[in-house]
């Protein structure tokens, strides 16, 4: 219908053909974009928005500002070199009295306690003992008498640092860093520095699983690619069935197999290899085995598709030119599988980094990965700032790796197309 009306308009208005084509093309593009738009808006609401909100929480710091507004204002001009002046003490006293009446002391106490251990006690004891706002000029005296901590500079810098509205505190904590009393970034004390170890652990587990997947997946992918399609399609079921089986079912199966009176221990005992059941689960071994099982198909499938694209003629050519099989494999075959190895390894590594369920179910306390701590701080201790900051670091690592993966897969498709 639109076409006929356009042809009708032809004769009267002499719009050049080129311009009309361009206009039609533009209309087509607008229509195409309109089709994508609902999904983009939907994802903005259910995915990008929530994640942006989480990232914002990693730097958002308005609790202390909300509970102790006058103090934060009074400290704005404080240089942090000496104790703050009487005005700041008076502001704090008046804020505490008001917050106590409003019942909001605990909110500020919780936030300040993150930054300075024991701050909760300082603030609540002060609130308890401060009956009314002190006489003008006596605030410093009164507060210091109630709690000697008010005579220390660190107490005040903690409030100033937590004054918001934004903070680097949670992000620094997530990297085991903190600001000292002079505002310089230093390493956190060893008893609070746990996240670098958690990140390292996450990295080590993911890397181990990736290497295991590569070692186990390579021969399988090679076999599947070398066999005639009828056979390889049949064997592919061994890869696809686990791939489609629920993660929970597979994790459950490993617990049944590996527990102390499970199938594996019973068989080993029956065979006379062991006397005592081995501890195969709720430790690093169990985590690596179960995660390798879950992620192995993600390694085999990209490897298989890259090997499938390698023409057997290359190997035959190498052999006919006198290359021994090992040389031909290392110099001719292996290099051509590198894109597949890269894509599969990156995919497995990215997926492993964010794992939560499997380590939570088959790991011990020392095998929990970063996701566990994000979940813990969100639902158990409600330290949302820290949960968000840890999430931000994990997200950044994931997105950087995904970017590399995207480049790799794109390149692979291009070369694959050229070969065909």
């Amino acid at each position: 219908m639109t076409t006929s009306s356009l042809t009708g308009a032809d004769a009267s208005t002499e719009v050049p053909l080129k311009r009309r084509l361009r206009r039609a093309e533009r209309a087509r593009q607008v229509k195409a974009l309109a089709l994508v738009l609902p999904l983009l808006l939907f994802l903005l609401f259910t995915f990008a928005g929530p994640i942006a909100g989480m990232l914002w929480r990693a730097v958002d710091d308005r609790e202390v500002r909300h509970v102790l507004p006058q103090t934060v204002a009074a400290l704005a001009s404080w240089d942090g070199k000496d104790l703050p002046n009487e005005d700041a003490f008076a502001a704090l006293a008046s804020d505490i009295v008001a917050a106590r009446a409003a019942g909001t002391i605990a909110i500020a106490a919780k936030r300040l306690n993150y930054a300075l251990n024991g701050f909760r006690t300082i603030l609540t004891s002060t609130a308890r003992n401060l009956k009314a706002a002190p006489e003008p000029g006596a605030a410093k005296e009164t507060l210091s008498k109630i709690n000697a901590a008010w005579r220390e500079r660190a107490t005040w810098t903690t409030i100033k640092d937590a004054g918001g509205p934004v903070t680097g505190y949670y992000l620094l904590s997530a990297l085991d860093l903190m600001r000292n009393v002079d505002g310089a970034i230093i390493a956190a004390p060893p008893d609070q520095a746990i996240y670098r170890e958690v990140f390292t652990r996450t990295f080590v587990i993911s890397l181990s699983v990736t290497v295991l997947c590569l070692l186990l997946g390579f021969p399988v992918a090679y076999l599947l690619a070398a066999l005639p399609p009828a056979r390889s399609n049949l064997l592919m079921i061994f890869v696809l069935l686990p791939f489609w089986t629920s993660l929970l079912v597979r994790t459950c199966a490993w617990i049944v197999l590996l527990q102390s009176n499970g199938v594996v221990n019973d068989s080993l005992h029956w065979l006379g290899i062991i006397d005592q059941p081995l501890r195969l689960i709720y430790n690093r071994f169990g985590v690596c085995v179960a995660m390798t099982h879950v992620l192995l198909p993600f390694m085999i499938l990209p490897l298989y598709s890259s090997m499938k694209a390698i023409s057997p003629a290359y190997m035959r050519a190498a052999a006919s030119l006198g290359a021994p099989p090992v040389t031909a494999f290392l110099r001719i075959y292996l290099p051509q599988t590198l894109p597949g190895i890269g894509a599969g390894s990156l995919l497995v590594f990215i997926l492993a980094l964010g794992y939560y369920i499997t380590p939570a179910l088959v790991g011990g306390a020392a095998d929990q990965m970063i996701s566990y701590f994000i979940a813990l701080y969100t639902t158990e201790t409600a330290n949302w700032g820290l949960a968000s900051a840890l999430g931000a670091v994990l997200l950044l690592a994931t997105l950087l790796l995904a970017l590399v993966y995207g480049k790799l897969v794109q390149g692979q498709q291009v070369t694959g197309g050229m070969k065909n």
Binding site: M1, V36, L40, F47, L235, P242, L247, L248, N261, V326
Partner: protein, 275 residues
Amino acid sequence: MSDNASLRTPSQRIAWTATIAVSTLVFIFLIAPILAIMPLSFSSGSYLTYPLPGLSLRWYDDFINSPRWMNALKNSMIIGVASTALSMVLGTLAALGLAQWKSRFKPLVLAFVLSPVVVPGVITAVGLYFFFAPIGLTGSYLGLILAHTALATPFVVITVGATLQSFDTNLARAAASLGASPIYAFRRVILPLILPGLASGALFAFATSFDEVVIVLFMAGPEQRTLPREMFSGIRENISPTITAAAVILTTVSVILLATLEGLRRRNERLKAGG
């Protein structure tokens, strides 16, 4: 074996035998756990060990008569079907649009649309938990359906997009030149041809929702617990044989989904070969 003809040297034969041996072990590693859990669900005893003391269906009986598991099954179906339907609509529209859209921003938009697959589940879950709680969407079916749709749609965009790539746009042009309106052409020409792609997209979407547990852990109230969620708490407490029955039921669903998908793939290949 057809390849044996080309294996002339002994070392090649050894390498090939080794490949088969290692692969067999890996296949056993992949499939044995899933197979091992199945007979246990038919055990008459309450310990998860072999040999089975006897056969019985009591754990299936337990599953079917448990309001907790039945509610979980119902929830998994409701949330799975609803998020599949929603992700099919959004994903198919987007795939159609992306197939026609030419812009240098296209890779960027595509990366954004596919990103829910890559972003760790915990991050999405925490973000949604903060975002949905103030607007009353945590502890609700709607919240979970929306979240699962976000996770499932990328799979729809990929599968439908792949089908559209092999779709001959001349057919749509022919329909237009014969006077079909875009909607009529879509319904009568495009839709029947891309239907297998839509079906596999729907299967992927359903499987994604049916297997998802991290978001459910964060967002579901006691009313919305799904099968994987019940399995998660069941495994945490202590694994009873009822869980193995649930596992067998879940695996059966996966096998049905996989078989349907394989059937679709074969049909597609036949059509391609025939055409």
